[in-house]
């Protein structure tokens, strides 16, 4: 009906900031990381996923989207040769999340198979300064009067208020801090995939759910403003377009519309490459589109890597 992110913002009491936070930008601009050499590898990795991975002519999206993701994570993980503290991360696949909260007397719950989660032993430090957090008090959440904000949400009788990533992992799990969530839209048929706007909304909701569950596990169930905000990142892709998001949970007091709000930085619709041609396109005996990857954007890969390294570098 209308862009999903705005609805998600209201539901999670969040203020939107365009672009990536300055902490992540700092990693991007840091020359010591040697991001230039990685460009070549990134290009190979994209070619492998899109062109070379199959014995058939061209791989389908259900195959190349997860392969591209795995390859990118592999390249990022190999950086742990340089930064040993990167090895304190663990990927959890087929990860189930459940979180409940109340929003202006409406009980909301989010549940589901949220894709792939990367956990780390140490939490990400807060990206926004105290002043920025306090400044969100003035921000007014946009309402959608007369449309109820819970439009398009499924109303369900909930008998158990489940509240845990903690139940997804047992107690004593050493990698207890959710770091990044990954969403892969890999359905072959376009209508089965989320559109970019809906994908961003989904990323926001799940990042919020994870952060909320972690905050409740750390600080208890009472709604309050958090001393130590919880930061959860989120990356969504359909194999070509990437959406990057950093979410900071400042408060668990979600019933009222005033007070400190949560913050989210979104960098949307980043293309990793323009086109991947498996077989050269020939029109009237002239090659119009040569085979290979064209229009490769190294910046998108650098942002991926920067989000991966965030928190340890």
């Amino acid at each position: 009906v209308f862009p999903g992110v705005r609805q998600a913002q209201w539901l999670t009491k969040t203020k939107l900031v365009e672009g990536l936070p300055p902490a992540v930008q700092g990693i991007l601009d840091n020359p010591a990381l040697g991001l230039q050499e990685l460009e070549e590898r990134a290009k190979h990795v994209v070619s492998h996923a899109r062109l070379w991975d199959t014995a058939e002519v061209a791989p389908r999206r259900e195959q190349y989207c997860p392969t591209l993701f795995e390859n990118l994570i592999h390249v990022c993980r190999l950086m742990s040769g340089k930064y040993p503290s990167l090895s304190k991360r663990m990927l959890a696949r087929n990860f189930r999340i459940a979180a409940t909260w109340e929003r202006e007397s409406i009980l909301l719950q989010i549940r589901g198979l949220s894709g792939i989660l990367m956990n780390s032993m140490t939490p990400i430090p807060p990206v926004a300064s105290k002043e920025e957090i306090l400044a969100t008090k003035e921000h007014v959440l946009e309402t959608f009067y007369p449309i109820a904000p819970t439009i398009d949400l499924q109303e369900v009788n909930v008998y158990k208020e489940l509240n845990d990533t903690g139940q997804c992992f047992r107690d004593g799990y050493p990698y207890s801090h959710p770091h990044t969530l990954f969403f892969l839209e890999s359905a072959n048929v376009r209508t089965d995939r989320f559109r970019p706007e809906q994908l961003r909304a989904k990323m926001l909701m799940f990042a919020f759910g994870n952060a909320l569950a972690k905050a409740k596990a750390l600080h208890g169930n009472d709604p309050k403003v958090l001393e130590q905000p919880v930061v959860v990142q989120s990356i969504g892709t359909d194999g070509q377009l990437f959406q990057f998001m950093v979410f900071q949970l400042n408060t668990t007091d979600l019933v009222s519309n005033d007070g400190v709000k949560n913050l989210v930085w979104i960098d949307s619709d980043q293309n990793l490459y323009e086109r991947a041609q498996c077989v050269p396109e020939i029109k009237k005996r002239v090659v119009t589109k040569p085979a290979g990857i064209s229009g490769f954007q190294p910046d998108t890969f650098k942002k991926f890597l920067a989000l991966y390294l965030h928190g340890t570098v």
Partner: protein
């Protein structure tokens, strides 16, 4: 005309003899008659050999490797499907005879490339490293295996932090089996529930943390659930029925393998022993392959290492295989076939590695008529989640067809260990009985690299 030419060249004063005149040039350059060749289309042995020769020339003359592979696998006929993971009894003997492989128990004597040897162990390592052909090799392999185990335990410590790697491995194991809440495993899909994800986690984290020590790993490519195929001819048989009845045909095999995980690298692993070494005997089996049991089917002849020819990571490093539920140890014990447990691991190692190394060789342009000029080495780990078996394969020859195998003294070599458990049991958030040896062997595998690096 001929007489005219000779007369012109004849110097005055000399007599013309019909024998070769001293000083006269050799007989005319172009032959008098075209060469007498067999027909191409006749139903005769000579015609068949001429057709084969033309085919071989066509493949030799192919411009690109893709063209060569396309021509090599162009003709489709019924072929035996060889499954690396099989329940057939004594399958590893059969597979060794199909692929002309010698099985050497234990790991190959690993040289100083992996880690600089500590002083005392260094001497034994060097002695064990010198390639020894013939009958000394099995004893040398066993002796150097034992020396290497103690040497590596000392040599490994200054370079590899075993404690950290052990904690990584235990974390991966605990996460998959204990900490993460998962639904119940699907029926007969226990391997996908816990050991599969554990293996993926273990290998990816170990490879990442060891990439600082092994620059080859830093340039490697990790494939999840790739496809490896190879097609080859070995031996001859007479066609039994059908319109081609009575003709002599090569016996065709095809391996279609799906390792759980594989690591491909841009540079080749170093050879373990020289190309022409003879470390044992290849078993000779007089029966038809269908007695194994092996079944025939006709479909596309694929040769594939996991990615296409254009990929720069065209050499293989290590494969990881997960045994499915139908081949788990409890089933063999229940059917009173305990000796077949090791056979499963061995046949998987030999068949998968042969297919992978041979496909790598074909990607470099070698095939059965153009035999390899350098050995291709790859490694594999076969596991069922708890028990690990390690294999190292050296491909010395691709010439296995009936024609080319006649004068071929080379044999492929496979070193393999028995399966050993990595841990005893996982109880309440703790891993009990963790076996460092298995982990060290895995680390040694991952650290393997060419000597220049």
């Amino acid at each position: 005309m001929v007489a005219l030419r000779v007369w012109r060249l004849l110097r005055p004063g000399q007599r013309w003899f019909s024998e070769t005149v001293p000083g006269a040039p050799s007989p005319p350059d172009s032959p008098l008659y075209p060469p007498v060749l067999a027909s191409i289309t006749a139903k005769s042995k000579a015609a068949k050999s001429r057709r084969l020769q033309r085919f071989n020339e066509r493949v030799h003359a192919a411009a690109t490797v893709e063209e060569k592979l396309r021509l090599y696998g162009k003709l489709q006929r019924p072929k035996y499907m060889v499954y690396p993971q099989t329940f057939a009894l004594n399958a590893d003997r059969w597979y060794r005879s199909f692929t002309r492989t010698v099985l050497v128990p234990g790991m190959p004597p690993r040289g100083a490339a992996a880690k600089p040897p500590v002083a005392a162990a260094g001497a034994t390592l060097e002695a064990g490293r010198a390639p020894e052909p013939g009958a000394e090799a099995p004893t040398a392999a066993a002796a150097s295996g034992a020396a290497e185990a103690s040497g590596a335990a000392e040599g490994a410590v200054p370079y590899v932090d075993v404690g950290e790697l052990r904690s990584l491995a235990c974390d991966a194991l605990l996460q998959e089996s204990f900490y993460q809440n998962k639904k119940r495993p699907f029926l007969y899909r226990d391997q996908d529930h816990t050991p599969g994800p554990f293996l993926t986690q273990l290998v990816s984290t170990l490879a990442a943390s060891l990439s600082g020590r092994n620059p080859l790993l830093a340039a490697s490519s990790l494939d999840l659930n790739p496809e490896v195929n190879y097609y080859w001819h070995h031996g001859e048989e007479v066609v039994a029925h059908g319109y081609r009845k009575g003709r002599v045909d090569p016996v065709r095999f095809q391996i279609d393998d799906n390792p759980h995980l594989q690591i491909r690298v841009p540079k080749q692993l170093p050879e373990v022993v020289p190309l022409e070494s003879d470390l044992g005997d290849v078993p000779v089996i007089d029966h038809k392959p269908s007695k194994l049991p092996l079944f025939k089917k006709q479909y596309e002849n694929k040769v594939f290492i996991g990615s296409k020819v254009a990929d720069p990571c065209c050499y293989g490093h290590t494969q990881f295989h997960l045994l499915p539920d139908r081949l788990k140890r409890e089933r063999f014990i229940r059917d009173r076939l305990e000796d077949q447990i090791e056979v499963v691991y061995r046949s998987n190692g030999i068949a998968s590695l042969f297919a992978w190394t041979a496909a790598q060789a074909m990607y470099q342009g070698f095939w059965s008529e153009a035999d390899v000029t350098r050995p291709f080495v790859s490694q594999a780990v076969v596991t069922d989640g708890k028990y690990f078996a390690f294999f190292c394969y050296q491909l010395n020859t691709l010439a296995l067809t009936a024609e080319t195998i006649k004068n071929n003294p080379r044999k492929n070599i496979c070193w393999g260990t028995d399966s050993k458990p990595l841990y005893d049991v996982v109880e309440g958030g703790n891993v009990k009985g963790f076996n460092d040896e298995v982990l060290l062997q895995l680390v040694r595998f991952l650290l393997n690299r060419p000597k220049e690096l």
